[in-house]
């Protein structure tokens, strides 16, 4: 067994043990509870900021980013429904 093999064996053992400990730690409610709460608080504050900005744009009579997203999504849905209808027509013609 050469030096590298001995080192590699030690590394593998360390890596396995460390991964197991970290997995237990990352699964612990003591870590997950506060982390989830912190992430949710950050998201809530971003959502509130976005909402305030959208309200401001709205009062100026301008479409917001959300309005544009909703419109584009509606157009995509419409395209999908048209394709559904075309498929049904093609199926009926084949029959």
């Amino acid at each position: 067994m050469n030096g590298w093999d001995i080192w590699k064996k030690g590394f593998d053992a360390w890596e396995n043990a460390t991964a197991r400990v970290l997995a237990e730690w990352l699964k612990s409610p003591l870590v997950l509870g506060p982390s989830g709460a912190l992430l949710s608080a950050m998201m809530r504050s971003k959502a509130a900021g976005d909402q305030a900005l959208a309200t401001f744009w709205g009062t100026m009579g301008l479409p917001t980013k959300r309005d544009q997203e909703r419109t584009l999504h509606a157009l995509n849905q419409l395209q999908s429904r048209i394709l559904d209808l075309e498929e049904r027509l093609a199926d009926d013609e084949r029959r």
Partner: protein, 352 residues
């Protein structure tokens, strides 16, 4: 020593060629595309097409990694008519794309197009990882065009006590507010979560790279897989909310309470031939969460293959090419529409 010297030249190595099997785009709708791999020169040997469904957060080319190491290329070579769904990159407006859009409308359309083009009644549906769960949900709610279902490392039970399950089920984590703030769930956020599944993995890979730096074939595969692993896609917001709330928190697919476009999506409704593939050392989808499907479906023709290896390696490695891929190809070949028809004619049975 030779390996260390080789490491110094790695940065000059050409980028790996990924997803190179020739394919044509047959359909394009919103961001997703349906691609059909060009058949081998002798033409396809089997009538029923195979539709590959990859995970929604990854690119499709894990199933077409690189020449000589491509599942799709292998299937084409075996004479199958192979199709794949490429989900594309969602735009900001796709935050409203939900479970119904993905599992019902997109897959329904893809199956319909593949079946019509091949003149078959349906297609073999193949799903890998999250793509497998999506395929199972579709087959459970809309079995009409599913000739058979193959699920590779596809979770159907989400309350498994694993890390992903523990994170997703944390009560203080508000999924709806996250999607309200971010729209789509950014891929770096999801990638960090996957890295945290085994935080030492990057170090382990680096050591492995040093150890095998002399091996060109290994390096090609390693860099191709790293290219794929770092080429992630953000997840549509509405889809993510359903995925976490319905599947992780309510375990609706396993409990039989999932509804897709107003139709119940019960695993018990799946009656087509089923093949489930699970991997012993899969730390992303622990094998019991994927194996559960075997006990729940109504299919009289069902089989499970359990293999050693991890979530990705066991699907794309050299040993997968030697063992798993031929098994999958043979399984589909035995269930091809023309073969089934010949068998029925021989035995004198007819389809009711």
């Amino acid at each position: 020593m030779r390996g260390l010297a080789r490491l110094a030249t790695l940065w000059t190595r050409p980028r790996p060629v990924v997803g190179a099997t020739p394919a044509d785009e047959v359909h394009h709708e919103n961001k997703w595309r349906l691609m059909r791999f060009r058949p081998r020169a002798a033409g396809a040997r089997f009538r029923t097409p195979i539709l590959l469904v990859p995970s929604l957060i990854n690119r499709h080319y894990v199933l077409d990694l690189m020449p000589g190491k491509s599942f799709a290329e292998f299937l084409v070579g075996e004479g199958h008519d192979v199709w794949v769904v490429e989900w594309g990159t969602p735009g900001d407006e796709d935050r409203h794309v939900g479970l119904d859009d993905v599992c019902d409308r997109t897959l329904g359309r893809a199956l319909g197009i593949a079946a019509r083009a091949s003149g078959a009644r349906g297609a073999h549906l193949f799903g890998y990882c999250m793509g497998g769960t999506i395929a199972a949900i579709h087959a459970a709610a809309r079995p009409e065009r599913v000739a058979s279902l193959t699920l590779v490392a596809a979770p159907v039970r989400f309350s498994d006590g694993g890390l992903l399950s523990a994170w997703a089920r944390t009560p203080s984590f508000d999924v709806a507010v996250m999607v309200r703030a971010l729209g789509n769930v950014p891929w770096p956020l999801m990638q960090s979560a996957f890295h945290l599944l085994r935080p030492t993995l990057a170090l382990q890979k680096a050591v492995h790279l040093v150890e095998r730096a002399w091996d060109d074939e290994f390096l090609d595969g390693f860099f191709a897989l790293e290219t794929w692993g770092n080429d992630n896609v953000s997840l549509p917001g509405a889809f993510y909310v359903s995925w976490i709330e319905e599947l992780y928190r309510r375990d609706a697919l396993a409990n039989g309470t999932l509804v897709l476009s107003g139709r119940p999506a019960r695993l018990e409704s799946i009656a087509c031939p089923l093949l489930a593939v699970t991997f012993e050392h899969d730390n992303i989808v622990p094998w019991p969460t994927a194996a559960l499907v075997m006990d729940r479906v109504a299919s009289p023709d069902r089989e499970r293959i359990h293999l050693p290896g991890g979530h990705v390696g066991a699907m794309v490695s050299r040993s997968a090419k030697a063992t798993l891929w031929p098994k999958l190809s043979g399984w589909w070949a035995a269930r091809d529409q023309s073969v089934v028809r010949r068998r029925r004619a021989r035995t004198g049975t007819s389809r009711k």
